[in-house]
Amino acid sequence: MLAYIVRRLLQSILVLIAVGFIAFSLFNFVGDPINNMVGVEATDAERDAARKRLGLDDPFPVQFARFAANAVQGNFGQSYRLSIPVETAIAERLPATLELVFVAAVMALAIGVPLGVYTGLHRDGAISRMLLTASLIGISLPTFLIGILLILVFSVWLGWLPSFGRGATVDLWGWETNLASWEGFKSIILPAVTLCLFQLTLLMRLVRAEMLEVLRADYIKFARARGLTNRAIHFGHALKNTLVPVITITGLQIGSLIAFAIITETVFQWPGMGLLFLQAIQFVDIPVMAAYLCLVAFIFVVINLVVDLLYYVIDPRLRLDRPGQVF
């Protein structure tokens, strides 16, 4: 098992290096960074001086190594647009996105899994059919449309919830949070619902399909023959056997939550990283774009590692010496 983890760690590092390389390439292929640093009126001599000062005339590998070394320390240089260090800009925005993604993921799990179990157990029931039909809508409507519809209903018509921004946040040891007060929480509800709807329906359909599959298994039949209660069978034996795919998908989906957050944050003017990234693209703010890419890749890699470790916790068959052979 240790060997496996080490191998996964090495793979993760490779992935990060690859993404770092792409991020770094942005600097060289999307325009000349010097243009962004010195004024338009700068002379060639001034440009060369700046180039030398920034190390931009060094050989490519040296530049990349320097970039990587800085990146590892969380140092991505100055934002062209904001003229503050990129780390600072991101640190300001990161809590907003992480909270949004966190709340959306919790909602998707807390609602999607029980609904999946329910529709799996009562597969021909009227409520199940309704939920399945409704879930098709959740899967097929684009995120921005859902967001706009929610704003229309809950902010414009009903006036219950704020339609944009983070609203009242509370500063908890330097972390601006929406979760510490009801007022703050109200602001996060609509964006989180918008963001989670797709994942929620996906999870529900996945859990349902897995439940139907598992409930046909011989060990479920045998569990019934031993007189176990439905509760023990459904939530002990069956649900646990659906967890491996559920965790895989959840892990992958947290990645796409971060990606989809770009759209949601735009719709709700949520001051998170996604919004920062979009603005960075508009202004060709390459350091911010590079930092965003690296950070998102890092989060992906960490989630994947966590998912792999959870497999071991859940499925004893994977605790063998040769992982991967069971599947």
């Binding site: 019934r224 031993r226 176990l228 209660t229 002990g236 056997n241 859940i314 004893p316």
Partner: protein, 336 residues
């Protein structure tokens, strides 16, 4: 009624009919069968694939999968009807009074739980004892089914056991609460031939020690000969012959049973399937009228094609065949 219990059957099945409603009409998979099992008795059930053996077992333990249902007849266990008592009452009987081991038992264990957890969970479902005592009992059970180092292996997962050992665990689970009847549906077919005999011997020994009755479904006539007290032969959802094992094997009355017995190879070890009668069993959708066996029967005559024969006494056994209805059989004199 309770005083009468001592001399009544542990299980009696009367006129049981299992149906599957389908779009193209109702399939009758088990067609009005009747039999009984006494306390401590081993009833063998044989018959070709699709004869309805597993469904009979499932109907008794109340685990027919919908849309399959008991359409007619009744099942009486220990003096009480159990085919109509509702889910919760039936659940309390399952594992507690009536246990079942399914076909292909190697997948009967949940891969994500230790065998100990599966044992204690079964015990604690039916007996109110604490986890620690249940665990002691679990280890005892594993010992009893011949698993070495039971106190260590109790914490292992199913994949850490070999096929034969896993089957022993399954038997331990079925016996965990000392049921009075075990329905064993081909308990060894999934196993290596070399282990099959051990498992059957174990099952037989344990059930004898505990006085447990067994309904043993199998294709292996050798196992039946060695294990069963009585045997029921099923064909196309019906019991065609039932009686003491020696009589059925050596002096079979029904033409189908006779065909089955002829198909037993002389050397027991290489018994495979028992289908050696010409033709094959009809599908549920086209069971012929009259005697279901009539298209394949060497002794078929007119009545067989129109009227269904019921079980009648023939010497020590009962057979469902018009040959033994002396008023109906063609001509006179012996046909056997």
């Amino acid at each position: 009624m309770s005083e009468a219990r001592s001399n009544q059957h542990l299980l009696s099945v009367e006129n049981l009919r299992v149906e599957f409603p389908t779009r193209r009409g109702t399939l009758v998979a088990v067609d009005r069968i009747s039999f009984h099992i006494d306390e401590g008795e081993v009833l063998g059930v044989v018959g070709e694939s699709g004869a309805g053996k597993s469904l009979t077992g499932a109907a008794i333990i109340g685990l027919l999968e919908p849309p399959g249902r008991v359409a007619e007849g009744n099942i009486v266990f220990d003096g009480e009807r159990i085919d109509d008592i509702g889910y919760e009452k039936m659940r309390r009987l399952r594992g507690n009074q009536i246990a079942m081991i399914f076909q292909d038992p190697l997948t009967s264990l949940n891969p994500l739980f230790t065998v100990g957890r599966q044992l204690t969970e079964t015990i604690r479902t039916h007996v109110s004892i604490d986890e620690r005592k249940a665990r002691v009992r679990a280890i005892e059970l594993l010992n009893e089914v011949g698993i070495p180092a039971a106190d260590r292996r109790v914490d292992q997962y199913p994949h850490e056991f070999s096929g034969g050992m896993r089957q022993r665990v399954v038997i331990a689970l079925a016996l965990a609460v000392n049921p009075r009847l075990i329905i064993a549906d081909e308990p060894t077919t999934a196993l290596d031939v070399s282990i099959q005999a051990q498992i059957i011997t174990l099952l037989k020994r344990l059930c004898r020690e505990h006085g447990t009755s067994v309904m043993l479904i199998t294709h292996d006539m050798g196992v039946i000969a060695e294990t069963a007290d009585r045997v029921a032969v099923m064909y196309a959802g019906r019991i065609v012959e039932i009686g003491p094992v020696g009589d059925v094997i050596k002096r079979a009355s029904h033409p189908y049973t006779r065909g089955l017995m002829n198909s037993i190879p002389v050397i027991r070890q290489d018994i495979e399937q028992l289908v050696q009668i010409d033709g094959s069993m009809p599908r549920l959708t086209d069971i012929p009228p009259g005697c279901a066996f009539n298209p394949r029967c060497p002794k078929v005559f007119e009545t067989c094609r129109t009227e269904r024969p019921e079980l009648v006494d023939v010497g020590a056994t009962k057979a469902a065949c018009w040959l033994y209805d002396y008023a109906r059989r063609p001509g006179a004199g012996s046909t056997t």
